[in-house]
Amino acid sequence: MIPAAFDYVRASSAEEAISLIGQYGDDAKLLAGGHSLIPLMKLRLAQPTVLVDIGRVSDLSYVRDAGDHVAIGALTRHMDVENSPVLREHVPLLAHATSHVGDPQVRHRGTIGGSLAHADPASDLPATTLALGATYVVAGPNGTREIAAADFYQGYLTSALEADELLTEIKVPKMHGAGWSFQKFNRRAQDWAIVGVAAWSRGSEAGVGLVNMSSVPVLATSVAAALASGASIEDSAAHAADEADPQADLNASAEYRQHLARVLTRRALTEAAG
């Protein structure tokens, strides 16, 4: 399939990218790894008239130990997140969840920032960073601002990013040895999750993010609250779908998704507590 024609502009820095996006306005799209955007363009479901390629902004590709958190450059590829010794040590849930994104070829190209900014509730990483209480650093024409993951996702494929803003960094709190589990349920390994659960726990404290359970990634706050109040894992997991509003699709009814969320949350919390 052949995308509709567009102009191509390459940015050499984050600042230049922001300036170009400001210049071209709503017709322009940022191109990082391209693994969310190019498939849509090939099917002509997206027809931007300008692509601003930020794929070569190499100073946005890094994983840094920043004390209480790990800082990840938005253009860090999935494969580099998955294999980062810093993340494997301090945020193993994110490193592991990233190893479930797409397939190896996709992970060689796709970036964490591209995946988060695309704001697809079926993607693994938005819900995972949500569970981990991450903060996103966003640069715009007037400087940078920070957005909590919990405030970032506003609707299906819609985020708090302004049209002239660029996601530059993801700050993920260290897990400090908390137990964790990532439960991805799908029919084919390469596909998006039918339902996914990213969870960590330390005693009665827990964070649970749900993949593909609503038009936005879901933070299962009722589960965490139940655990904190002393409820058993089984009873807490029964609340997994409380914040969810899943859709039916070819692979799952809404009811089945709710059921799966409860089962997988129970399994995740059990494994995390293990």
Binding site: M1, I2, R44, F185, R187, R188, D191, A252, Y256
Partner: protein, 795 residues
């Protein structure tokens, strides 16, 4: 004379494939790899509606785009066609067949039906122009449900007055009413309904076509990613009304077919017609999402099957009612697919003449169905094998034991079945016993007892499938009795060149099966030469003008046997020459290891190489003998070949999620003698996973408006390596007595056997929960819902 077919050890060896180096290095040329300067690109405007009247087609904006040579509506092209798109299998005299043109003129009848087309200088320009063609439609109500179609509530093709294409009956009774009587007297009976979902064949190479006008005189070369270059040539000539001898069809490297490339498609006809009109090469390459809508689908049947059995569980009667989903039109062999299964509904079991089969096929507003790996036989095998498990449950005996009570005994072969067809050879108990041993059947049943206790969330299931395949679609006379529009023969030429290299010309047309390797092995064995000295020529109607191509597991059992028979003719002729040159009586010569020797005088010998050269120079041949060492055969086999086997699948079902995990898959297949066991195993592996994919993963899903919701490989779930199990293969060998190689087909066996084995295992795992049937594909959501329903809706 004494002929000793002394094996050289080639036949039956795991010889590596000669096809592989070109494919492994990227040097092989698929149709879209062929570079032809100046070729124009075809693209089609396809209907977004399942059923819509075409009110107008405005091509002006598209035609004005840069690089666009022409834009045609269906009406613009109507005079190019001498006839409608061909259907070669009018199964009944009164079969309804709607007019089907390569580009629709008045009404589109499925999403993806072509309504206009573009010829442009590049693929990009053609694609852009497609977007610019303005078609005004009047959407009409679509029919996607088979029983709704049958009701004629909405008639899709006005001119037919009904959605019923045909009803085809096959009632075989010892005496009138024998079938009804069997059911009346039955100690046990079961009545089941099974649904064969629609499948998308999804060969990895999308279809591609390239039509190249030749210098002077109007000759045309058509390259196509097809399984059937010979059939395509005849049908293209007839449909376009052009002289057949001016058409040459070449199937270059072809990336899989599975029946989907056993057809004559609109794009093939369009490329030829427009290459003639524009006097330039015209090419077309399918995109995957286009292919999901415009290349045939497979299966699509509702099956009602009833078994009657006596007190011992032996079958006494069998009744089948089918509704076949033809889709919007009849493609090449669409209507015949259910018939191919009609003869296999009793599977590998003895059945008295108490058989009552009827199939009614209907039109729907979906992509036409046609042959897909197994074509009718997987459906039939699924129904009988699922129903046998239902019967075993009804009687309360082990499903393997029930099958054993019904197997045709080994000493009854060749066996004339209730249909009158003669099964050539079989040892069903042998295959079942080996499979049961390999899988550890007895231990598994014990483990199942202890594992599937009340409350267990991981339940073990063991599924069996014992199958027969009717393959090598032939003899021609039998095909005639089914109204099939072609014969079942195959042609071969074997030519020994002056330097003792051999050219084999075959009418088979491989697309992954390894014919070049296998045919060279047959010739090497017969002529006592190295397979490296054999060249196999195929898939080009100018080089191999006679043939009926590759489908229906026919290539070895018809085409390969034809080659072996032709080798015998070559040896016969060589023997006459050798006798002449050695001044011996031909009957005193022995042929072995590529050499003729006078019996009792080992020093009087002549190698084939010397004879080939003598035949070429023709200086000293027997009186009246024609020069050159070459022979030809057109072989019409006396019978189908009947491979068989037993597959056993072991699954664990997670009752909390509905997920099915295949723990083990054992396939025991008997395809008679094996030319190359490496290739046989490969065919079984691929077939099994394709059958398993029907059971667990794949379905072409339409909504009630007729929109295909699985139109890409992101939605249509062809499984990957991580989603499927290894396949443990075993074999018994029961040679076919009807051909000199003792071979049977194997291309479809795995697909036929696997689907019921997997579903039987899933149902077996859940039987303790009151589950009696699980629809396909047994997706986690479906399995979970079935468990819930069986448990009274609570989970």
């Amino acid at each position: 004379m004494t002929m000793t077919d002394q094996p050289t050890g080639v036949l039956g060896s795991r010889m590596l494939r000669r096809e592989d180096p070109a494919l492994l290095t990227g040097e092989a040329r698929f149709t879209s790899d062929i570079v032809v300067p100046g070729a124009l690109h075809l693209a089609l405007v396809r209907s977004p509606y399942a059923r819509a009247r075409i009110l107008s087609v405005d091509t002006s904006a598209a035609a004005a785009l840069p690089g666009v040579r022409a834009v045609y509506s269906g009406a613009d092209l109507a005079d190019l066609w001498a006839g409608p798109m061909p259907c070669a299998w009018p199964v009944t005299d009164d079969m309804k067949n709607p007019a089907h043109l390569p580009v629709a003129v008045t009404q589109a009848n499925h999403v993806g039906d072509g309504v206009a087309c573009v010829i442009a200088e590049s693929a990009e320009a053609a694609r852009d122009a497609v977007e610019a063609v303005i078609v005004e439609y009047e959407p009409l109500e679509a029919v996607t449900d088979l029983e709704d179609a049958l009701s004629d509530r909405v008639v899709i093709h006005d001119e037919l007055g009904t959605n019923r294409s045909y009803t085809w009956d096959l009632k075989i009774e010892e005496t009138d009413g024998a079938c009804d009587a069997a059911f009346a007297a039955a100690a046990y009976s079961v009545k089941e309904r099974y649904v064969q979902q629609r499948l998308i064949p999804a060969a990895m190479e999308p279809r591609a076509v390239l039509a190249v006008p030749q210098p002077f005189g109007g000759d045309m070369t058509l390259y196509s990613s097809t399984q059937v270059p010979h059939i395509l040539k005849v049908m293209t000539a007839l449909t376009l009304g052009i002289p057949e001898h001016q058409l040459r069809v070449i199937a270059p490297a072809v990336g899989g077919g599975f029946g989907s490339k056993l057809n004559v498609y609109a794009e093939e006809l369009l490329c030829v017609a427009l290459a003639r009109r524009h006097a330039l090469p015209v090419r077309w390459t399918e995109t995957r999402s286009e292919g999901c809508q415009a290349t045939i689908h497979g299966r699509g049947q509702i099956q009602d099957i009833e078994l009657a059995a006596d007190a011992d569980g032996r079958l006494t009667g069998l009744r089948v009612r089918l509704i076949g989903d033809m889709g919007a039109y009849l493609q090449l062999v669409t209507p015949g697919v259910p018939l191919l299964g009609a003869f296999l509904y009793a599977g590998v079991y003895e059945l008295p003449k108490a058989f009552d089969f009827s199939c009614t096929s209907v039109f729907t507003n979906m992509t036409p169905t046609d042959a897909y790996r197994g074509a009718g036989r997987p459906e039939a095998t699924y129904a009988i094998e699922r129903a046998m498990d239902a019967l075993a449950t009804e009687i309360g005996i082990d499903p393997l034991e029930l099958r054993r009570r019904n197997f045709i005994p080994v000493d009854k072969f060749p066996y004339e079945a209730y249909t009158g067809l003669v099964y050539d050879s079989g040892n069903h108990d042998g295959a079942a016993t080996l499979a049961a041993e390999m899988v550890g059947y007895t231990d598994l049943r014990e483990r199942q007892q202890s594992q599937n206790v009340p409350g267990a969330t991981k339940r073990l299931g063991i599924g069996l499938s014992t199958y027969f395949e009717m393959c090598g679609l032939a003899p021609s006379r039998v095909l005639a009795s089914l109204n099939y529009g072609a014969g079942g023969w195959e042609a071969a030429t074997v030519r020994v060149l002056p330097t003792n290299k051999v050219q084999v010309v075959t009418g088979t047309s491989p697309h992954g099966q390894g014919h070049e390797t296998a045919w060279s092995m047959i010739v090497a064995e017969k002529l006592g030469i190295s397979p490296d000295d054999v060249d196999v020529l195929h898939s080009d109607t100018a080089i191999a003008p006679l043939g009926l191509d590759t489908y229906g597991s026919r290539s070895l059992s018809v085409g390969g046997v034809a080659i072996a028979m032709t080798c015998d003719k070559v040896i016969d002729k060589a023997q006459q020459i050798a006798a002449h040159l050695l001044e011996a009586n031909p009957d005193d010569l022995e042929f072995s290891h590529g050499q003729f020797t006078v019996a009792g005088s080992p020093d009087r010998a002549m190698p084939l190489a010397a004879i080939a050269f003598e035949a070429f120079t023709a200086h000293n041949l027997p009186d009246g003998m024609e020069p050159n060492l070459e022979a030809h055969t057109t072989y019409d086999p006396p019978n189908f070949s009947w491979p068989f086997g037993t597959h056993i699948c072991v699954v664990e079902v997670d009752t909390e999620t509905g997920e099915v995990e295949v723990l083990k898959y054992v396939a025991v297949d008997d395809c008679g003698n094996q030319v190359n066991p490496l290739i046989v195993d490969g065919q079984v592996h691929g077939g099994v996973i394709q059958g398993l994919a029907q059971a667990l993963f794949e379905e072409a899903v339409y909504d009630s408006d007729g929109n295909l919701r699985t139109s890409t490989l992101a939605e249509y779930l062809v499984p990957a390596a991580s989603d499927v199990p290894p396949v443990i293969t075993g074999h018994t060998i029961t040679p076919s007595p009807t051909n000199q190689l003792g071979v049977k087909g194997v291309g479809e066996a795995g697909t036929i056997a696997a689907t019921p084995a997997v579903i039987n295992a899933v149902v077996d795992a859940l039987s303790g929960l009151g589950v009696r049937n699980v629809p396909m594909p047994a997706s986690p959501n479906t399995v979970w819902s079935i468990i819930n329903a069986a448990q009274g809706g609570s989970q």
